[in-house]
Point group: C2
Chain length 138, copies 2
């Protein structure tokens, strides 16, 4: 468990879009979010970036599938260093939609879910905004 000692507070820096896209390209797990009648839901997923959009693979009869069909969505990636109390995060906000199989990239560029299950539905989140912040240790 990380230390709870309070260090000097870190500085927050806004990331530009290019750096956000670079960070997005460097990970394989992130978190997809949608809103239902009870508020927001956040679920980890494997993903790939494809032409600047987030591509995920889900099960067709899942709650994710139900709520990511032409719906507002968000996708978040981050990384933190508990020891240095530093890190970064990137938030993609946009619209989620089912992807036509003809529009999919080659199979080795598609997301590879770690989890078992019949994940045959591809969903793309096309960004309307991409924002990110870096917390630099003091």
């Amino acid at each position: 468990m990380p230390s709870k000692d309070s260090w000097f507070p870190g500085h927050l820096l806004e990331l530009d879009r290019a750096e956000c896209l670079q960070l997005l390209a460097g990970r394989v797990t992130g978190r997809i979010a949608y809103c239902d009648s009870g508020g927001p839901v956040v679920v980890p997923v494997n993903y790939e970036m494809h032409f600047g959009a987030v591509l995920i693979r889900i099960a067709p009869y899942s709650k994710l599938a139900q709520h990511l069909r032409d719906s507002p969505a968000a996708f978040e990636v981050d990384d933190f260093d508990d020891f240095n109390q530093s890190g970064w995060s990137v938030l993609v906000r946009g619209r989620a939609e089912y992807v036509d199989p003809d529009d999919l990239p080659d199979s080795d560029l598609r997301p590879q879910p770690w989890a078992e299950g019949h994940r045959t539905l591809y969903v793309r989140v096309t960004p309307s905004t991409i924002t990110g912040r870096r917390l630099v240790a003091a």
Copy 2:
């Protein structure tokens, strides 16, 4: 960057509430989520658990403060191992509300934000549901 090779798919196991609470108690960073007119927003925060609720500290004139006042909210923690393609996640869904200063725990049990800023507003997310899953490598 982690390998993109596809291993055998991992097994997903539901976590019981006790294990979810144990995992929540063992971390200092998670992600708070709310919904605005454009859909979900997911933001990393430092937190502490207090009597089974998630306690965070935010700036009083922030977007978080605006959207976490008697509002549906979610809080997510997770951890993944890129090499083993395994991990876990816990999702708290509930209601966010401002905390009266008289209801705060002792100062060493309060969340300590890593980031600079005048974070004088305490917000509590009281869970309506707590769910979690573990992805066990095959």
